[in-house]
Structures are given as structure tokens and as C-alpha cells.
Symmetry: C2
Subunit: 261 residues, 2 copies
Amino acid sequence: MRSDSRPVDVRELIRKGEIEGPTSGMCLGYVQANLVVLSKDMAYDFLLFCQRNPKPCPLLDVTEVGSPEPKIIAPGADLRYELSRYRIYKNGELVGEVGDIAGYWREDSIAFLLGCSFTFEGSLMRSGIPMRHIEEGHNVPMYITDIECYPSGTFSGPMVVSMRPVLEEMVVKAVQITSKFPRVHGAPIHIGNPEGIGIVDLNRPDFGEPVTVKRGEIPLFWACGVTTQVIALRAKPEIMMTHSPGHMFISDILNEEYSLL
Amino acid sequence: MRSDSRPVDVRELIRKGEIEGPTSGMCLGYVQANLVVLSKDMAYDFLLFCQRNPKPCPLLDVTEVGSPEPKIIAPGADLRYELSRYRIYKNGELVGEVGDIAGYWREDSIAFLLGCSFTFEGSLMRSGIPMRHIEEGHNVPMYITDIECYPSGTFSGPMVVSMRPVLEEMVVKAVQITSKFPRVHGAPIHIGNPEGIGIVDLNRPDFGEPVTVKRGEIPLFWACGVTTQVIALRAKPEIMMTHSPGHMFISDILNEEYSLL
């Protein structure tokens, strides 16, 4: 039932506490987004970091100072209540997981919403390219690479990538399909040899769980929104709020709109 | 000779005052960029304006506070000297045109470089779609539309578009080619009827010169970088510097790099 629900209805259920779990599979066809909330004093450097690193950090919306409403991707929504689980960080340390962030929101808070690769996974699967992590029922494996992002102010560090194994004969198609979604990470940043981007062991991801890579399959690596969290935590902001992994913000924008250039 | 010169050599000649004219036709194949210099206090709102309006305002590079070096698109270059002509605005009024901006540059100056449609005109012409304004030997016609940009802080106002007439049977190809360049305005924002976007008379552009639209041709409208100048001037910044029309910054980036997603 929830897979074909409208985003506004699912967000209302989340707000009422009637949905508490991850959002994977909900409101199929609608863009889900990563959330990062910072205070105004860090906002310029973070905004510029995203502008300089559009593949890992594809910005979809930025709220007005103090406003929790994402006017572009979900007018009327309230980011303080309409995600099912949040993480609170103080000075770079995780201090808690909460169901809403009303108590932490400040007059100088700004929310940044970033594209998520959920958006292109549907297109890949409909084109006959299976997602191994979905088949195996867990989160996608993510790795810290040796590719340095362009720094901005206090924000600097390595790019994080997600990995999906793809049959040799489907690699070109996977590049073509994801190239059509530049606002949700776009084409892979690397194909094949993990060591080429500083990944020592595919079986030991830095985030998420490892997946089976079968004979005849090539690992494909896409820039990943978790980059933002790694970078932001290195900058040790006094306070930062994010979604909890898998508990994304469901927007009113259809995936197809982000395949337009 | 200058059409196949390296950007670094042409910039050196500009710096020495040996080139003073417009840059159209120079260093073919390299991206040329619009320049807007603002002070730090306006930078966050302007950066967010560009993020919210990527079609008219495709940001290619933003310098560090006080630094005139565009590290991403031309490392080592100095934006104070390496454009052939600049405009100086105070409180929204044009106060002069100068050959360098060293005397106006401040410790809190930030330079923004934005994509320019010169980049896709070469691809259109090589595909057999002639550029009427080039045939007629003058600037492209530009119009203020009734399409409102997403505002950001003090920055708000209408989108400016450039117009190129295209033969009916080439319209699809023109959309396809320019779609491949999302970082230099991308696909047209409107095809056909000028009144549909608030343009009353094609023969009276707000900037540039009118072009002949022949029988069997359709006017195609692309978001235009002049939007930034119109918007910035409405915000009446204490000081703003820009390139003079046609006197663009020539970067070290090949056009082809901006056709990758």
C-alpha cells in the first residue's frame, strides 16, 4: 500500500509516529533525499562545498534561514517532523537518535537536501540490471576512497562511493542510464579495479554491508551522499542534524523530473 | 592565429594590454565564462540564487574570499587582469568600464564564474544549425521574460533568455545537442510563441541586437547568463564588477568536459 502512496500522505503518517522504519520502497517514483542541517555560520562554506563537488553532493533544495520548509521539493512540508528518524551530532560526535528535531532546531538552522541514488536504482532494475544489495536484503556497501573532494573552508576530505556489481555485458547500459540522472549522482565515477580508487577490500565496506560479486560481474562505483556526512563531521560543527541511514526525506518530485537537463 | 591559441597565452596577451577586444572566436574549443564579483556579505545569497536557478546561472567556479584565482577552471590565472574589459557598478549604477580591476578588488571580494552559451554554439554549427547572429555579425538578441526566478535573499527577478531561430526540421536536433550541456544553460526553456514567456516583440530585444527569423524557422529560447547581472543590479550591491558584454573569461576547460554528466 505504501509503495503507491502519495508522499504527502506518508509524511503525515511519519509526523504522527505511525511510520517509524526506513523509507526504502515507499512512494515509488518519487525522489528521496539526504538531509543535513547546519547553522548559518557554516552554511556558505557547505553550500560552496556542494557546488564544487556536485557528483557526491547534488543539492536539490536549501531552506531559508530558520525555516524548516523545503519550498522547492516539497512545499508545505516540515523537515523537523517529517522524517522517521534523525541523528544529532555535537562537535562531530553522535549524541543521539530521535524521532523529531523540533527541540534541536534553531533560529539560525538551515536544511540542505541532497539527491540519493535510490532514484536511479528503479531505472536500473526496470532495465534488467538487478541490485544485489536489494536481492540480499540489506543496505548498499559504501567505501571511503582516496579521491579528495575540492575543499571549501573547513570542509574537506575524501569522496565516499557506493558499489553495485553489474554483469560485464550490462556495464555500458548502466553508465548510460545513470548518466541521465546528474542531479542524483549521475554516471559512475569508476568501473572495475577497486584499488584504482584506494579501496583495499570490497568485503569490508566502511558503511553498509558487503554484497556478493559473482563471476562475470564488474564492480561499479558511484559518488555517494554519505560523503557529505563524513566531510561535515570532520569539520566538527557545534551542532549538526541528519537523517538516520535509510530514513530519507520523501519529496513531491517525480524521479523523471531529475532525468531532465 | 588566436582561434587556435592556448587560453594561457591569450590571457597573457590580455594582461599585457595587447588584446583589448571581445573574445568571441578565440581559443576555439575552450569554455568562456561570465564574471560577477561581489563582496562576502552578499556571497551566500548569490551562491544560493545560482543553486536555485541552475539554468540561467550555471556556476563553474567560485574563488576563495579575497583570492582572484579561479582554481578549478584556470589554476594560476588572475581574474583582476585577465579579461579584456570590465564593468564597475556601485549601488546598482554603472560607473565605468576599465581594463583591469586591481584598484577595485577588495579583501572581501569573491568572483563567480558562470557558463556561457558560446560553448554549445560551436556544437550546433558543426551539426548544421547556423547561428543567425553570427551570420549577421552582431551579438545574440536577449529578452527579459515573465518567468520569475526562485528568489534568494535580496536577489530576485525575471529570467533573461537568448533567442536563436532554428529551421523547423532541426528543432529536435537543437534540443538534443544543447541538452548535453547542462552546465552551460542546457536545453531551451521555450520553443516557439514568444508571448508564451512574456516577450512582446522579437524585433525589440532588451539586450543585444535583433536577428532575422526566416520563413520555416522557429524561435528557440535558452536561459541566459545576463539573468545574473539583471538580478544582481536589482539587489543594488555597494560594489559589483562584471566582464563587459562579449569580453569573457577564457578558461582552461575544454567544451567537451562540460558535455559529461
